[in-house]
Assembly symmetry: C2
Homo-oligomer: 448 residues x 2
């Protein structure tokens, strides 16, 4: 397989390189990473701020040196600025020296990821931070220490905004969360988001809903609601812009949203060019006609294996598409979802089962409700499920992931023989109950 | 459907009756229960002894009175002593008055359960107790209080033995566990049982392995190892004897082990006679040629629904067979298994994947290893899996239950898109890793 060039050395790129080396001890592998670090645990960054990850070093899975020992060349601060797919070379800029050079490849793996979007009012504002890289985390922690930060304004309520909020509260730092619309955490249903909102308030977080920062001046953020709040530090997490501009005129297809469509082997429209990670566009496993872009770790790792295997000549491992399984812990709650986004569900005829039940035997100390909403197509396809609970959301999501992947329908949920003992479940688990209710509903509708 | 007689009013029988009434408001339903109580949460009994179930009343799901309101007749202390399947009636003995009478049926549901086995040396010994019914629990708690019991000898290390041990330790009662062979808790692999053994010792339990009680005298138990230990109270849990003797000459097939084989609708060999619960014999879902008798709550509840539906005329809900999913908490550990018993696995060509990995991101506070052993047939069928961890065993078992049920093979485990976030998993979960390892092993063996 000759020489493989990997663009981007974080989750997707680094894993693809490792897998490749494992499969083939001889091929040449070069990783170009435009930033300082490679292969760090980006999902773990918020938890080092809060202290749940005790040592910074635990967040670093691999270094250029450790890759060097595996005979993988890593060049950090090297940005790939152009790709020539007809002559199979990339143009690389050394960001430290300014030098520009070309590097040929036999196979090219694109894992450039994205960069945090910045609202115009915060561009260039010295109080403003993002948390996307290890470097960002280092800066945030240094800033908190050096400026003796006791209060932070969080902008955005996605994974990053919520996780950073939790972790700052763990350090007893006051948090004001500014969110542009009326409910938090768009990954989940409004009625579940309302629970999160209450939880944040219970944990001393000040919420500024339907509100955006208009400008920052003299240490204060001026909101679109005409309020003025102290903002000695701002951390913003409102999403990513794909780093795919360098592919312009490369011949690699890029969508209007800046994403790279791939097939079941991770190939782009160009046979020897692969893509993975936050910029890849694939399809939903259970609704193949709907395109999926899931900026999470599991898809990146899974696709890394597929690509490495395919470059190595394997057609036996395919990427089946995604379910978009996602989860977050927020203080005492667990919140998660699987399947299509709500906007996609709306376009499909479906009914909803909304079940509330104790997550373990109701007579056991500490039992409380898990709420599960499941969106069922007319043939029983589980289009989407969302849930919130103080425990066990990850269990239900993983179970649904296995179930849906293998073609299991809503009415089949009654047949999942769950592990029951009072500390863990009810004899009829909530997923079983959702199945029973789905059958009743389908009978009513003449679908069963 | 006329008149339905139910023999046995605990989990299986009571649930079948409830489901029947839900489906059909008009049919006549009579439950005969030979003991004092019906419809109590037998799995919860140990936890009331330890206090994790605060109120005794929480353990009672239904009473003869509450059934009465649903127009279901319940006769406790009524034992069915004979069944006439050619003329469709049962012979019933009122255990309080001694009266014997006949009751006709259109459909008969058998849920007689079993009774605790007693080793000969403990028969009639006043210090000896079992924990099978609510009445047993009441007696145990009364005995502890009245005799001011500070130490207990537990005989047997199945679910009951282990759970009672844990709960007695919660009350600071000293426990000596007498076990007849060299490793505990036969539901699990020896190397995992060794962890349990250590855990018990860490929690102050005295273990007497390879040892049985020979006789009890003057408050002491004399062991087969010639030791003599104080035994002011003994609680024995060494398994059940099926209560199926009354079916002799009834025409209902009963196996040598006293079990009742049923089909996918819960029917015995007699069309209008059904059986469920601890005495039913069905087959493994993923290995239909192997018979299964799983004395747990999930199969009973699931079969109750199937039988009620079938009596009501439904052929749409089938019982698919079992996976034998089981789990137990023992102090800080969770232990569980799914699939065939080890003795059945031995007869099938297979290989084993033994994986140890953190149950959540390794850099997170509180991370520790989950050990998973998975037995894979040559075509990738997951014959059995066993695991032990401080967290997340229930999650993996439920996920495997969904996966195996739907025909998922070991090599497909890589495709389960688990819910990942550092507090919950690794990006490649341990089940995913088991899948990757299974593929490698299958490639080595020329099976993939």
């Amino acid at each position: 397989m000759g020489k493989v060039v990997v663009v981007g050395g974080v989750a997707g790129g680094a894993t693809a390189a490792s897998q490749l080396r494992r499969l083939d001890p001889d091929c040449e592998i070069v990783i170009f990473e435009k930033d300082r670090d490679i292969s760090f645990a980006n999902c773990g960054l918020p938890y080092h701020i809060g202290g749940e990850v005790a040592e910074r070093s635990q967040l670093i899975a691999a270094t250029p040196e450790s890759f060097g020992k595996k005979d993988v060349t890593v060049r950090t601060y090297h940005e790939v600025i152009k790709v020539n797919t007809s002559e199979n070379f990339v143009t690389v800029k050394n960001l430290e020296s300014g030098e520009i050079f070309e590097e040929s490849y036999d196979h090219l793996v694109l894992s450039p990821g994205g960069r945090p979007r910045i609202v115009p009012a915060l561009a260039g504002v010295p109080e403003n931070h993002v948390l996307h890289t290890l470097e960002d985390m280092d800066e945030i922690m240094k800033y908190i220490d050096e400026e003796d930060i006791r209060e932070v304004v969080i902008v955005g309520s996605g994974f990053i905004g919520m996780e950073v909020t939790e972790n700052l509260r763990m350090r007893d730092i006051d948090v004001t969360l500014v969110h542009r619309n009326g409910y938090l955490y768009g990954h989940i249903e409004e009625e579940m988001a309302a629970v999160l909102q209450q939880t944040l308030e219970d944990h001393g977080v000040t919420l500024k809903m339907n509100s955006e920062i208009d400008r920052v001046a003299d240490g204060y953020a001026h909101l679109t609601t005409n309020e003025k709040i102290p903002a000695p530090m701002i951390i913003q997490g409102i999403g990513l812009t794909p780093n795919t501009e360098f592919l312009r005129d490369s011949g690699v297809d890029v969508t209007d949203r800046g994403l790279i469509p791939v097939n079941e082997y991770g190939q782009t429209n160009i046979e020897n060019v692969y893509a993975l990670g936050d910029i890849m566009e694939t399809n939903y496993l259970h609704a193949p006609e709907i395109r999926a872009n899931i900026k999470l770790a599991w898809p990146a790792h899974r696709m890394a294996y597929t690509i490495a295997n395919h470059i190595h000549g394997g057609y036996d491992v395919k990427f089946e598409g995604l379910l978009g399984t996602n989860i977050m812990r927020l203080f005492e709650y667990e919140i998660g979802a699987i399947g299509l986004e709500r906007k996609d569900v709306r376009d499909i005829e479906h009914f909803v089962i909304d079940n509330q039940q104790n997550f373990k035997a109701g007579y056991m100390e500490g039992a409380s409700k898990i709420r599960t909403k499941i969106y069922v197509g007319n043939d029983g396809t589980i289009l989407r499920a969302a849930m919130i609970s103080k425990s066990g959301v990850d269990k239900r999501l993983d179970t649904l992931a296995a179930h849906i992947r293998a073609g299991g329908k809503a009415q089949d949920l009654i047949n999942i023989e769950v592990a029951y003992s009072p500390p863990f479940s009810s004899p009829k688990s909530d997923l079983n109950m959702v199945g029973y209710k789905a059958i009743e509903e389908m009978k009513k509708r003449g679908l069963y």
